[in-house]
Each structure stands twice: as structure tokens, then as C-alpha cells.
Symmetry: C2
Subunit: 348 residues, 2 copies
């Protein structure tokens, strides 16, 4: 199989800064789409992965899984995309397509396990998948999303991971009109959750430990902001049907479980390293749930993109040049970003 | 209001053995039912309460909330019961009847809080409610259950708390035909859960740490018994739609969360004293839930009694005399009972 050599930006170890490198992309198969990467968001998972926090890094590693681009070539069997189309790839680039979950479009639950868009064993080309911090991407058409005509295309890139990560549970737990939906944490995930939950029609309450975030939360669409350190505010707050917990640091979940109505759910999408301590009394009284959710399937990701376009939702972003990516990673580590970095890949 | 004085058995402190005492019961109001207590089950909550493990005991305390008896008197407004009827009272003897939850027959979630059948502030008579370790009971007709004609009436008593505690979540999480339902723990709650889940049509897997319980689990209706200490058995076990966790001791819930299918729930009905540690990865992958459930409403308790009668389900019991109740409490503390003690109240 003919391969092309392209520029990328990646890590060669867990401790050294990322740097420019040359990687190989496979030649386009009949079912493949090749696209020039225009923008790529930076997610905390990219940082965890290049630092080998999860022990799964294979170097050289090219991160990036919020990938937006323009189609440069399509395989002979591809009918749904053509050269020049604006497309995107998120987390998933391969699944078995045979199991119960793939059949119903929930590839994230594939029984054989999915191939991630970066640092995942590549079943097609061998080696590992290389992500979107690169000049181009090649992927089977099934996993390519159609990008609606967002005015700010760069700021739409974070929808591919952060967006679907919050959209999927908000939809699954029915964040609709008449529902009280709480959002915990106001980072890359949380700020999009506020916008999306509000657009779904829910009454949105943001819980935050920072008084400085109140104004921004309201600007993003929150109906109420509760300072979590203020007992009186917590006590006066309406009970929630669902609270989406986007916090990745260790924290006390019981006080938020106690803010739920009967049959309510606290849904984790953050991934704190240590186990969370849940008091049995807190969930037993009121038949409450402590639940989790992880990204979404391809069909739902497309639905989310169309929903966000319709409701004029993109991420709040800082667009950076590729040469500033190491500095951005350092700032991301400290939570110093409002609210998502996106790399302009023309600068590579 | 005229009161009657009756014999009961209760605790005068957290450290002394229970003993015979005289308590007052209110005179029958127009809406009340009075009945002679025939049998009363012993639940672990009775033990926790008299020992003041929850810090809520008010002495003298008369426990007992799995109460079966024969009606001796009904108030002038009572139409659904008459003298001689075999009836029962479980955990709930008063709720607001006005809130959303009471209106839909889920009194266990009453927004004003429920009055328990023992050791609860008594809104009608003042003082605290006295439970079923007594010669008679008086209760508003709304909270009195109609006992079907169980052949072994004594062994039906534990249905009033243990039965509804497992029936309600099994029904809520839809333990029906085609579902894989796991039962964790094989005590008073667990042994009834096996019988009820099987009668609901589910495929029942019992997880136990004691090889000695395998045979009994199968006799009770389990389709499969998995020795939880055996890695190979755990690995080979089918994934579960729901696991009902009846264990009150501290234990690792993550290994059971990992036994769930996508969208599966581990549902606690036991109340371990220490918080349970839940790894975020375990619930996030596969959109799983760690949930709780607590007893059930009056209508559902009646439904459960009728269901158990239809399916010939009662608890496995040791019937004891009231004089042996302190010894029974000691054995209960050690888990030395197969599977529920019931007091023959004629012996008081």
C-alpha cells in the first residue's frame, strides 16, 4: 500500500516538548476519505495521553481528536463526500460494525472495542493511529462527519469531543423543557454543556467554586449560578433532575447527589484519577444514581453538530499557532484557558 | 383520647438486653384499624436501631416493622377492613398524602417525610411510634395491607420490609424475561430477591463469597451461582442488566459494576456504614449506574404481597418465642440465620 509522508506535531517521550515530525498516512482505499486538516482542538485527553498518564502512550505519538478539514481525495466507493467538502473526525475511526451496538449506531460501546483517532492500534495500516496535529488525515467514510456551515469553523472543532461528550448524556437523561439540569465544572466540557442544555430547553443551574465565573456562566446561558462553597445558596437551590459532572479533579460527589430529586442522576463525564466516595444513604434515599457517560456514536455526533449549528453553538476558544502548542499544554494543565484551545493547522 | 395499655418487648438503652414492658396504644380513631399482632419479623434495621447505631434511638424503644395480625377493631369510617381480617403493617404508617409522591402512591418519597412504624415521632399520639414487638397495633387504614391467604403466614411477615425492599428495585429496573439479573448477598434480603427475580421471569445469577451457599442459592431459584473469589468464574459470567446489591458490609462495588452490560445498574439496598469507592472509569465506560433503592410505597407493597402469594413465595424463616429475641439479635449480628427470624407473638 502506497503511503504519503506528511508533517505532524507530536511527542517522542512523556517528558520532552512536542515537536515537528514526519509521519506516514496510508493511501486512500476505495472506502476512505482524505482531508487537509484546517483546525484541531486540544482536549485534556491529548495532554494525559502524551504525558503517558494512563500508561498507554506509544511514541512517537501525534495527538488531536477534534479534527476539522477540507476533503482532498475520496475513494472510488465513497458517495457521500466529495473534494472540497468541509468535514470532521472525532474520537472514533474504526469499530466492528457487526455487534449489537455498532448496528444501532452506538459505536462507542462496540463489543470488539473501537479504534481511536490517535494512539490506538491501527487495524488498517498497522502501527498506531496518528491524530489531527498533522497536515492531513485519512479515514473510512463511515467515521467522517459532515460539518455544517459554521461561521466560526475553528471554534466548532471542540464539538467533536467536548461537544458530543456532554450532548450525549444530556440527551440520554432527557434535558428538556421543564427539567432542572445542573452543570458542575466550567471548563472545556462544562461551558459547552451550559449552552447545549439551555438550547435543549432545560432550566440550567451552574455549580461553581469560583465567584469570578458567575458572570460568564450567565453569559453562556445559565439561568442560575450557585456558589458551591455557600451553604445557604446550596440549601436554597432547587432540586435537580440531573447534574452533569464535568470535573476531572477529585471532589465530593455526595453533596451534589443530595441536590438531586427523586430518581435523579449525577452523571460523570470527567475522569478523576482516584475513586469517588459515594455514601449508600445518599443514593438509597430517593432512588438516586451515580452514573457515567463517554462520548457518543457517529450518528449522534452528526446529530449534535447539526443541533449546534441550528442553535448557533460553538466553543469559546483561543486559536493558537502550532509553535505555541507546548505552551498551550502547560496552560491547559493549570486550567488557564477560556475555554478551549484550537490549533490553526495552516501554521504547521 | 383514651389509650389502652398493652404488653410489648423493647429496649431501654443501647446496651441492655430487650425486655418485657407495658406501652400505650391510642384508641381507635374513625380512620384507624386495630389488630392483634400474630407474627413480627426481625430485620437488621431493628438491631441497628435498638443499639443506636444511627444515633436516632429514643428509649424505651419497641422495634418491629414486619407486622402481621388479625383485626380486632375498626373505626367508623373504615370500609376496607373488618374484624377478623388478616392484615399487615410494614415500614410506613403516616405520610403527608398531599405531595406529588404521596399522590402517586410513592409514599416512601413523601416530601414531608414519612412516619416509620417504630421509633419515629408519632404525629397522631405524640411521643414515638412503637413497633410490632407488641400484643397489638393501631394504624390508619391507608397504611394497612391486606394479607393474602398464605399457608405459612409467619414466614410471610418478612415480606413487609425485606420483600418490598427487593421487589421495588427489581420491578423499577425491569427484572423481566430475557434480562440477566445478579443478586449480591444471600441474607434476609438476598434470598427473597432470588425468589422474586426468578418469579418475575429473569435469568438469575447469584454472586457469593461462600462456596457453601451454592446449593442453597440453586434451591432458592438461582440459574447460576458465581463464586466471587474465583476470577475465572467471574470472567466467564454473562454480563448483567442489573445487579441488586444487598450487602450491608463494606465491599468493593467496582468489580460488580464491571459485570454490568452497557446501561446496566448496580443497585444498593444494603447500607454499608462507610462510603463506597466508585472508579469514574468503571461507570463512564458503558454508561453504567451505581444506584440505590429504599423500600416501596403502600400500593406497591400490596402488589408485592399479591405477587408473592400468586408465586408461592415466602421467606425462609426460623420462628422463635419472644423470650429468645435477645439471643436471636446476637445471632443476627453474626449473620447466623437462615434467612430471617420471625417472632410468634402469641408467646408474649
Amino acid at each position: 500500500m502506497l503511503k504519503t509522508h506528511i508533517k505532524a506535531y507530536g511527542a517522542i517521550s512523556s517528558t520532552e516538548p512536542m515537536r515537528e515530525m514526519i509521519i506516514e498516512r496510508r493511501a486512500v482505499r476505495p472506502c476512505d476519505v482524505e482531508f487537509e486538516v484546517l483546525y484541531c482542538g486540544i482536549c485534556h485527553s491529548d495532554l494525559h495521553s502524551i504525558r503517558n498518564d494512563w500508561g498507554t502512550a506509544v511514541y512517537p505519538e501525534v495527538p488531536g481528536h477534534e479534527i476539522v478539514g477540507r476533503v482532498t481525495k475520496v475513494g472510488s466507493d465513497v458517495t457521500i463526500f466529495k473534494t472540497g467538502d468541509i468535514v470532521a473526525v472525532g474520537c472514533i475511526v474504526e469499530s466492528c460494525q457487526c455487534c449489537h451496538y455498532c448496528q444501532q449506531g452506538e459505536e462507542q460501546f462496540c463489543e470488539e472495542g473501537i479504534t481511536f483517532s490517535f494512539n490506538s492500534p491501527d487495524k488498517v495500516s498497522g502501527g498506531m493511529t496518528y491524530g489531527g496535529f498533522s497536515k492531513s488525515y485519512v479515514c473510512e467514510d463511515k467515521y467522517v462527519l459532515n460539518m455544517p456551515a459554521f461561521k466560526d469553523l475553528a471554534s466548532a472543532a471542540p464539538l467533536l469531543c467536548a461537544g458530543i461528550t456532554v450532548y450525549s448524556p444530556l440527551k440520554h437523561w432527557q434535558a428538556t423543557e421543564g427539567k432542572n439540569i445542573g452543570i458542575l465544572g466550567m471548563g472545556g466540557l462544562g461551558h459547552l454543556a451550559i449552552k447545549i442544555a439551555k438550547a435543549m430547553g432545560a432550566y440550567v443551574t451552574v455549580f461553581t467554586s469560583s465567584p469570578s465565573k458567575t458572570e460568564d456562566a450567565k453569559r453562556l446561558g445559565a439561568d442560575t449560578v450557585v456558589l458551591s462553597s455557600d451553604r445557604e445558596q446550596m440549601k436554597a437551590c432547587k432540586k435537580q433532575d440531573m447534574i452533569l459532572d464535568t470535573v476531572s479533579a477529585n471532589h465530593d460527589v455526595n453533596r451534589y447527589i443530595n441536590m438531586l430529586k427523586v430518581d435523579g442522576s449525577l452523571v460523570m463525564v470527567g475522569l478523576p484519577a482516584d475513586p469517588l466516595k459515594v455514601g449508600a444513604f445518599n443514593i438509597v434515599h430517593g432512588r438516586k444514581s451515580f452514573s457515567g457517560s463517554n462520548i457518543g456514536g457517529i450518528a449522534e455526533t452528526q446529530e449534535m453538530l447539526d443541533f449546534c449549528y441550528k442553535h448557533n453553538i460553538v466553543a469559546e476558544t483561543e486559536i493558537i499557532d502550532i509553535k505555541d502548542v507546548n505552551r498551550a499544554m502547560e496552560r491547559l494543565e493549570k486550567g488557564d484557558v477560556k475555554y478551549r484551545f484550537v490549533i490553526d493547522m495552516a501554521t504547521l
